[in-house]
Symmetry: T
Subunit: 148 residues, 12 copies
């Protein structure tokens, strides 16, 4: 089965190193390990990537058209400014879930609007590292179509 | 242990009966059953309520100060208009999670702003009935403080 | 045949007693009698209710799903603030007509927007008590589908 | 007795021929006949006119100062852009009723504001051809001053 | 002589228990006692009530038309969202004074606008419990018409 | 003990002479006498000043840093335009109370915003001359810290 | 010498007949006579026209390119809505003066903006019929270039 | 075959005579000749008209419903203010192309919005007289459906 | 007879010395002389003053309550920022005319709004020094009430 | 002679594969071939490139300063967000033409504004693949300066 | 050689005494001494002044037209509200540099806009007392025109 | 000691070659040389880089966390659009100074807002190449903490 692509946007490589009062102390490696561990439990494969380049993230979303069964994306600051990413998501038919570590609605005014929210399958925000893990579970529910 | 309070706001009693293309075909009873089933698995108790009255929802949130270990709230239309609910959430010290069945960011302009998002612990939107189930799992993670 | 539900929102119980220069001197009882009289002429039954509680009005709209052939609603101040009522109207399949005693477009800026107008069948405003009577006639035309 | 002037603004000559999903399939002739028929029943005379020229509509409203007992106006697109028509209505002492075939509040953002609504006697919108007929009845109620 | 009605809106029942850094540590009972004590000194009777329900507050304002000599109202969160309360105040002929415990102008943007301020006799904000006591004195000055 | 500084801004020297329907018929001398009389009762000293010059008002607020125990300010039109006065208030550690004769929220749109409200201790508006007297009492309550 | 063209826009033919509290009781004929009388004194010829048609006013402004020495224009309601008139004025090299009978800045919000003001030579508003006469004098000063 | 209707709006009759730095020095006759010449080459017939009257342009668009194979329209200033023209375009089933001589996006703020752009087939702006010629070619491509 | 007060606001003392392409080359002395000369012709006395201090201008307007028969004011930059001057004008019962040398509507966005325009008798802008002279004539017409 | 540079922005590499109802079914290769074919006819050389990276597009525009005779650019989503591209266009002296496949004015609100439109030579939108071909013709007309 | 005029606006006389967390602990005397010391090093003379009066600052800027070689201005709160100061700066031909102690862009929304920034030579903000010293150096660079 | 990182954003590689009336005639090499020369005088090392890629600039800012003693950044157009750069600056603990060659406040509306200004240590704009040199001096003052 195709892996689930986990994309992280700009500055998320500094996770655990910048503003820990907002983003927590887990590093991106810690996050990726936690995701891998849960993926193991759920018996799915994941492919975690990070880039500070908007164009690179667009390229990776294009790859997911063929190469992934679902996408989990934390686009970081590009969440609020990138219509290019929005268009790339619109070009996908697999499920896409938007995640945020922090509660973006409780921060700067310009962080309250997301160009992605309107075109993804669902949004999970504010649970720190757990946002990714809940999203991973969500991708499985969406795929398996398990009745409530 | 204190139960998790699950609050549903106006018109959610019609779930499964109105606009199924947006809200799905599961009824509120179906949702409550699914929540109860997962609560059983997770070994927690839940208390599910619904009201069309803003004041009633405020009253119930006040009860949760003493009587609940966490709150999951889908405030329906009051999400977008009620500062009273926002204030009631601010008066709580237990975790509060905001859920929505649909992707509210993909709908009417006036549904994009939530008075609750800025004061809850986290937000989960767009996964239909699964939004509640993911939120239920999230309350457990928040309580147990399980490391990623 | 099912009755036509006539709903009046907050402060309309004071009709004829407050700001008669805007709302006229007829009381709500006068209005209800006039409606009943015309209903008699048109050979339909009507059910007139008033509440200052948003939640109560939502509850009554839900009842109308099964129990009414049409709804005439003057939501008073909730016209301008209630998305919950809008959602409740959206959940109805019978015709809904919005009425106002005064010309709401000639008053305060915040009275010019109605959350209901976009989802009702039609709107009648500015004719005082006659707004209700014209609406009652309109419900008949909608039902009978009489060709112009 | 002076006739009731029924004015139709730009593009209403195409009624029944353009966008029937919004405006219905009745032509302007059909509408005028329906109005004439009801006028006959009500024993009043009507004078129905249409123009695509804003200035022509202003001229006709000026004529109504002397020559009409009431005015029913569907100003079409000029509803949203013409202060000249607003001023012409302000210069009238006979009752003026604004009508719309469609529910203008459920359409484009720029169709939600009417320069006329604030200065007419009342507004009736959303009932298709019946909007005119209800308005015709309303002019009679306003004139006869019939108690509810 | 008719009592002075003191109305408290949503969440004020939690006074002293939530966000004491904003609202102080006095409970609603403490406030009511302080009001009663000053009322005794001033030789007037007071009637203090609280509700989380907008409709209930509207109902009580209606009662005040006959049953109170003045109204002191802290509408809490409804201050910023309720046109229904504004209309109910407009329907009163006795003096109405708006009070707030905190300085609402120094808080969230959405707390800076009050639907009541434009229709009450006067406003007193920022003095904690003393806001009510100053308002009580103000009602006496308004009634006695004492020259400066 | 240091006096309470009472500052009046532009055009308040015309009090009682301009727009008495808004500002009442008492002159500034009348107001100052009434303040002095109540100050006598309360056993405090007051120092009442008026200027049409923004800079003068700033200078006087600076004086109050050393020379006053509290400040009562009606900044008149500068209320709505002066960030300089706001900054001068921010530089004070004694209590500052903003007063207005009229209900500023019921007048022109541009009179609804106050640059002072967000930085003063409290606001009292709409009670005519009594606004000053209530403010004088309030300064005493703030100083004495009298329990409710 | 070429005449001065005096253009009047929509509804000005009703001058003296509508809303005399705003526009005064002089009719358009009165105005034209007053203009003619002063023109006689100043020894210039004038050509006064009125139309309710935006296109007609544009046509007349085009004529003025060759046929007039200056233009005085009261565009009535088109002042606030017509970019076509603005463009026609831009195409003129003779002086153009905008006049208004009433003080447009003291009326409805939408009457405060003029599409003409930014492209005319000067503006005179609020002096009733005298606005035209002052404008007529102004055209002479502009032409004669008389030193102050 | 039916001709292609080329419509020019207000002030375009002055082309080449007003503001040549913006609109170029070619007159409307020059433009029409150039269009005719290219039409000859392309073997199609064209019908070029100009009016300063919004209503006239609406009338001509109505004619095109039966009498033209395509429409090229430069609505001049009405581009930015006329919903009536927008509605008339909406009533057409033949291709409509919006052209502008100048780059309207590089000029006044109020010239950046076009009521037509959202309802035409395509837009060509900024190429001076060539805008019309490119549009003429475009109508042929649209009709012939020539594969790229 | 009382003189006509001519007030000039900030930076007008530099007239003729700054930005002559906007304000012309006449100095304030030149302007005052021209005004005096015309005043002589009209047989009225004038009193011309200039200040860069908002408070001083307010003081002078207060003086005019008793000491002037009319006021001509060019408030310069304070036109756009001073509510204090607006209030001072509101306190006057003699006619007040607002003048501007330049066409303020053709300049920076923030120069298009005047706090004075809504409360003066009339406005004259764009005629350079002649703006004052036309205003002087206008004061005479207002006083003499000369019929057109 | 230097080639014409044809630049395509983000997601245009998916042309024909995503949202064909908006963008058509031709792939980017199809478009490039069509452009090459017409270039052959017109006897010019073209250089077609695509990138999802904003910085890459800026780099290529810099290259065009020396290496291209004209630029045709479809910046995709960067059209609406990139001031960097705008600045790069401003740095070019060769003609630049903006093209869009779809009618961007008929889509999302945030797609209606282009940072490029104000600085390019002209804009062509809505003709699908033909937009590029018309633009190619337009570059020839601009270069050859062919009289209409 | 003429001195460099250093102007400080409202409340800057309290420097070091108010809100030291924002403005630092250096007093205005400290700042002036530091400026004088660096001026000595650079062999230029400086003239430091402070006023809380907008009009006084305008007067001083006028003096600088003849009497200063450059101006350094920290207009304090008037930065955000004074068009009069902007106009006075526009009337200067010597270089003017705007300085701020704090980073005004990181504070209240209303402190982010400066009426001066658009008309000064350059801006230096956020370096505390060093802002003045850097500005002093900058004036020298501007005068000497030293090549990089 | 660690070098000072000098970052230049998009299009700055064209310095001296584009719009010299805004940006001056010095090339980026000239600027870098001037910086190096002053760095030599001040005995510090500098590291000057330029990129048109937002992601590259983010990467370099990340490097500065370990590898630089201060950062001087001219983010060019990304100043106004990049939250990613803002976040990267927020992740730095060394001083960051924002510089601009031109006075960005005197240009297009969209160039007036900077995402960086609110999070940098200070801002220097409008001094051309000297902006960098003043910033270099400022970094030294910040480090050495030299008393005024």
């Amino acid at each position: 089965m195709k892996p689930i692509l986990v994309l992280n946007g700009p500055n998320l490589n500094l996770l655990g190193k910048r503003q820990p009062e907002i983003y927590g102390s887990a590093t991106l490696d810690d996050v990726n390990e936690a995701i891998a561990r849960l993926a193991g439990e759920l018996n799915v494969s994941v492919d975690c990537r990070q880039s500070n380049h908007e164009g690179q993230l667009v390229d990776w979303l294009h790859e997911a058209r063929e190469g992934a069964s679902a996408v989990i994306i934390n686009a970081g600051a590009y969440t609020h400014t990138s219509i290019a990413l929005r268009d790339a998501v619109l070009a996908l038919s697999v499920p896409v879930i938007e995640v945020h570590l922090s509660n973006i609605y409780a921060r700067d005014e310009f962080r309250k609007h997301s160009y992605l929210s309107g075109v993804v399958h669902g949004t999970i925000a504010g649970f720190g590292v757990q946002s990714y893990l809940l999203a991973l579970r969500a991708t499985q529910l969406l795929v398996s179509g398990s009745k409530p």
